[in-house]
Amino acid sequence: MRFLILVKASKDSEAGVLPDEKLFTEMGQFNEQLVKAGVLLVAEGLQPSSKGARVKFSGAKRTVIDGPFAETKELIAGFWLWEVKSREEAIEWAKRIPNPTGEDGVVEIRQVYEAGDLGEAYTRAQAAVKA
């Protein structure tokens, strides 16, 4: 099963402050362990929200709002996609994410839907696409 691991943004990540050498090194080692255990599918860091945008939907209307966005804690600074045997294993790995500065932070773990979880509407829709 796949899990998306979301690293929430911090003041630094939103300011575009890049990790120092120590964090790069420890993150690199951690990612290497993930690869060796056959866990890592994707690992990416995100640029600050000031470089991003939002597209707001309201009925037929679309409004583009440029970043940055204020609610730092709700923003995402990076993510991993992991392939693991269980939710427990994902949590176990997440606890190992390096945090050399000892700063407060939150990492959110979310399970990815597989085709089999999506129910009948999905199956019917897929049949319709094919037909």
Binding site: A37, G38, V39, L41, V42, K85
Partner: protein
């Protein structure tokens, strides 16, 4: 060290020795947990905890010692890493030893390396748990009696032993990809287990091109898992699949693994060749864009490496797609005298298809009917009889 049970213990002993003792809860009850790296993490945790304690004791004015400790930790990390990798490899090679039956190799690999319980293996293979338990006990006894050393083979032995390991991993994958037993046609969990084993192997023996070839093959095949099942669970053939449902991430990983295999140089092995064929399909955004000439050439190379009538039949299909039905039929006609394909329904099915494309409907009808009588799959039989009827009516 002729006993896997003992070998497992000794492998763990290496860590125990390094650390003097495990925290009571820290001993992995399943050797497969190694794969998750938990054993290593626990070991490092323990060391770190101990170090923190030491550091507290010597906090003031001992910068030099601090540096030395950092170095020691790095060495320890490296040593543990090497040991873990080595133990894991030895375990893989032992579990897949050719002295064992295929079933035993599969069960032992899933148990020791996949970290699956006997109950989970039994459920995956739809056999009673006692059967699996017995298979594992017997396998361990066989290894002990044959005095199989718990080691990574070297030199000339390596190639043969590695191919046995790859075979086991691919067998597990295939059982998941097109289950030979049970109601459901695919078992994605087995595919995931095999993929994970393959990915780990690729890191353990990164210089073996065929390991990357196998990983590439599995990644690309797995990318089609969700497109292979129709709404009521029926198989959907490659060219009929909705390519929008192919997993682009796995395709991307598969192509990267194939590239790694190719970069290691030398002629491609059977897994890499099959991966290269799978890659031709993966790269085509529509069936019409498929590079059939390249596929035909790759099947040609595969037929030379591992000659088999089934590979030839596949090559015939590729030739027909690349150069027209007559080119394919020429090769298929040669295969009709092949004894091992005598009751293989795909031979008359392919031949019928090619004949129909050449407007030779009466001959095609006979072939489709023959194929229908040979297949065990009801859905397939219905399809073949429909095609036979269409041929009788003079349309393909």
């Amino acid at each position: 060290m002729g006993d896997v049970g003992l070998a497992e213990e000794l492998a763990q002993d290496a860590l125990v020795a390094a650390l003097e003792q495990w925290p009571v809860s820290g001993v992995p009850d399943r050797p497969g947990a190694w794969l998750m790296g938990t054993a290593k993490h626990r070991a490092i945790d323990l060391l770190r905890r101990r170090k923190t304690l030491e550091r507290k004791h010597e906090e003031l004015g001992h910068d030099l010692l601090g540096t030395r400790q950092e170095l020691a930790e790095r060495d320890f990390d490296a040593a543990i890493e090497d040991d873990m990798g080595d133990d894991l490899l030895r375990l893989i090679f032992t579990a897949c030893h050719p002295v064992l039956s295929t079933e035993a190799r599969v069960a032992l690999t899933l148990r020791l390396l996949g970290g699956l319980t006997t109950d989970e293996i039994a459920r995956a293979y739809l056999v009673p748990e006692a059967t699996v338990a017995q298979r594992i006990v017997r396998a361990k006894r066989t290894l002990a009696e044959a005095r199989v050393p718990f080691e990574v083979p070297r030199g000339a032995d390596m190639a043969a032993r590695l191919s046995s390991v790859l075979e086991v991993v691919y067998l597990i994958f295939n059982e998941g990809y097109s289950a030979t037993a049970g109601d459901s046609w695919v078992r994605p969990e087995l595919c995931e287990d095999a993929l994970r084993l393959g990915r780990i192997l690729a890191e353990l023996v990164p210089t073996e091109a065929e390991v990357h070839g196998l990983v590439a093959l599995m990644e690309i095949q797995a990318s089609r898992l969700r497109a292979r099942l129709g709404p009521s669970g029926e198989p959907v053939l490659l060219l009929d699949q909705n390519r929008g449902r192919w997993d682009q991430l796995l395709i991307h990983r598969g192509l990267a693994a194939l590239e790694r295999a190719e970069q290691l140089g030398g002629a491609l092995g059977p897994y890499a060749l099959q991966a290269a064929i799978a890659a031709c399909h993966a790269r085509a955004q529509t069936p019409a864009e498929t590079d059939w000439q390249r596929i035909a050439a790759l099947y040609d190379a595969l037929a030379q490496l591992t000659p088999s009538p089934v590979v030839e039949l596949n090559r015939a299909v590729a030739l027909a797609m690349a150069f027209g039905p007559a080119a394919g039929l020429e090769l298929v006609d040669v295969l009709t005298s092949e004894p091992s394909l005598k009751s293989y329904y795909l031979l008359p099915s392919v031949r019928g298809d090619l004949l129909a494309k050449l407007d030779r409907f009466e001959e095609a009808r006979v072939e489709f009917e023959r194929a229908a009588s040979l297949t065990k799959n009801a859905r397939e039989r219905k399809l073949l009889l429909e095609r036979a009827a269409a041929c009788a009516a003079g349309v393909s």
